[in-house]
């Protein structure tokens, strides 16, 4: 049941426990208990909303930063990754295969803010060899959702 709950919440974290109970044909109390357990185990890590800030009229600058680092004896990439992901400006940080090592997602209010963060905070981190900053110009699709396209039900009434 936990796996089904996770799959449902991953798609729509606003589903109520009652809805989930109805969908899985189980008791609502059991759903509440399971969700609490998943939260306590650190498997359900948080609930966030997907927002088209641009549409709201607020600019948010997102940059994907390719970071090359030199791994450390005994720690590999973990230590340097930790130094980077602790910054609140860093929204995501992943170790990658390929031509660079860490892929870091940074958000800020302006391009300058993001650029300065990279120049002053990220690049000087010990063992960081180089950075390449790629700014997002337009988001088309995020978390499986098409942005900028408001769904309107255009189905006409037909006799069926």
């Amino acid at each position: 049941m936990k796996k089904e709950i996770l799959a449902l919440l991953e798609k729509n974290s606003r589903l109520s426990d009652d809805d989930i109970a109805a969908i899985l044909t189980v008791d609502a109390v059991a759903v509440t208990t399971a969700i609490r357990e998943l939260e306590n185990e650190g498997i359900l890590c948080g609930y966030s909303a997907l927002i088209d800030w641009e549409k709201f009229g607020q600019e948010v600058v997102t940059a994907y930063i390719e970071v090359r680092v030199s791994p450390q004896r005994g720690h590999g990439f973990d230590k340097v990754a930790e130094r980077i992901y602790q910054f609140p400006q860093v929204k995501a940080c992943n170790l990658m295969s390929g031509g660079f090592d860490l892929f870091v997602v940074v958000e800020g209010k302006t391009m300058k803010e993001v650029a300065l963060f990279v120049a002053e905070r990220l690049a000087p981190v010990e063992f960081v060899l180089s950075t390449a900053t790629l700014f997002v110009l337009r988001k088309y699709k995020d978390h499986g959702v098409l942005l900028g396209r408001h769904h309107i039900d255009e189905r006409e009434l037909v006799i069926m």
Binding site: A22, T25, R155, L157, V158, I159, M160
Partner: protein
């Protein structure tokens, strides 16, 4: 001068749909929630749409053979065999039609006319009755019962058969009830049908929208295979309603004749849709399964919602309809739907739209978003509560 008297009576006297007035009402409303539309709310999966677009880009804008591209019929052959264990020769036993609706129409036109009886278990999709009447045939409704989970019973079938009976139309999973039939249910019908000259038109358009068990077709019974015309299509399975594409499978003797009507009336199905349909059958099944699992989630929320609103609700395991029993409110189906729409701006379709025996029931579709379903359910709850307390007050004052 309009020569109204020239119009044939079996056309002019066919009643217009009783649902029309609701459509007029809802069109003037804001914030109305429609649980009335009988089509998927999903867009056609992208890879399928893309194949249609690509066919236009390549300039593939010509007729196909009357029966449809052989490539598509080959895919239909494979699909029917793999999904439903039904084997039809792609050359002589399959034709591609303009939606399942055309298949039903041409099958009826081939088989019946004035003096013939068409048996129609009701409540049912509205087009069967209309198409049968236009041929001049006589429609004999067989009222299905909620206590039998709207499954056709052998004794009901037997009682309706006369020497004039030529066709039985069956459609499971059912619009509007969401009912299904299992192997044992069909086996009993087969006993009644196997030695009689009755052709079965089995509309299996909702075959893939099944949430429990495995779809059974009456054509899977060897003794029925050549007496059955199986109708299916892409509209419901792959959310392709506007493409207008379906197909029929039957013995070559039937197919040859249906093909004649089809070729003179229609020529061939839209080719853009045919190219898209090939992609649907080749690669569309995972997307179809994703849609089915979403329907299933909404189905459960909706059934649970109706029950918690105090409406008795038989568990539908197919199609995307719920058919709750509203008799406890003391209202007729029509009153219920009209008042619900006016008071709470929720559209459901009265059961009577699908046959007289639909009285006491209403049809709601869960081919709409979960949010709409939840909001609709809370409005329906409020409505049912107010109707019930109104009824209690009336009883009180009568005492």
């Amino acid at each position: 001068m309009i020569l109204k008297n020239m119009i044939r009576k079996n056309v002019s006297e066919a009643p217009p749909s009783g649902i029309r007035k609701y459509f007029d009402l809802i069109n003037e409303m804001k914030d109305a929630i429609s649980l009335g539309i009988g089509e998927p709310d999903f867009e056609t999966p992208w890879s399928i749409r893309e194949e249609g677009i690509y066919s236009l880009e390549k300039g593939k804008t010509f007729y196909s053979s009357n029966a449809g591209f052989l490539e598509l019929r080959n895919e239909i052959h494979r699909y029917m065999r793999e999904r439903f264990s039904l084997t039809y020769n792609p050359v002589s036993e399959i034709i591609v039609t303009v939606g399942g609706s055309e298949a039903i129409d041409i099958a009826l036109r081939m088989l019946v006319g004035p003096g013939d009886d068409v048996l129609l278990p009701e409540p049912s999709f509205v087009a069967y009755k209309g198409c049968a009447r236009f041929t001049g045939a006589n429609v004999v409704p067989i009222p299905l019962k909620a206590e039998n989970r709207f499954r056709l019973q052998p004794e009901e079938l037997l009682a309706a058969i006369t020497p004039n009976t030529k066709v039985l139309i069956i459609s499971y999973p059912s619009n509007p009830t969401g009912a299904t039939m299992e192997w044992d249910d069909y086996a009993k019908l087969v006993k009644v049908l196997k030695d009689r000259d009755i052709v079965v038109i089995s509309d299996e358009i909702y075959a893939e929208l099944l949430y429990e068990g495995k779809h059974v077709s009456i054509a899977q019974f060897p003794e029925m295979r050549d007496k059955t015309i199986v109708v299916n299509g892409f509209s419901k399975t792959f959310a392709m309603t506007g493409w207008r594409i379906g197909f029929a499978c039957a013995h070559p003797d039937f197919m040859e004749q249906m093909k004649k009507i089809h070729q003179f009336a229609i020529m061939c199905s839209p080719t853009m849709a045919q190219f898209a349909a090939i992609e649907a059958l080749r690669n569309g099944l995972p997307e179809m399964e994703r849609m089915v699992s979403e329907y299933d989630q909404r189905r459960k929320v909706m059934v649970e919602g109706f029950r918690s609103a105090g409406l008795d609700c038989f568990e539908p395991v197919g199609a995307f309809y719920v058919f709750p029993d509203i008799r406890s409110t003391g209202l007729s189906s029509d009153e219920f739907c009209e008042r619900l729409l006016v008071d709470e701006k929720v559209l459901m379709i009265p059961g009577t739209a699908f046959g007289d025996c639909g009285e006491g029931f209403v049809r709601a579709t869960y081919a709409t978003s979960l949010d709409s379903i939840r909001e609709a359910i809370s409005r329906i709850k409020r409505f049912v509560d107010s109707v019930v307390s109104e009824g209690d007050a009336l009883q009180e004052s009568a005492r």
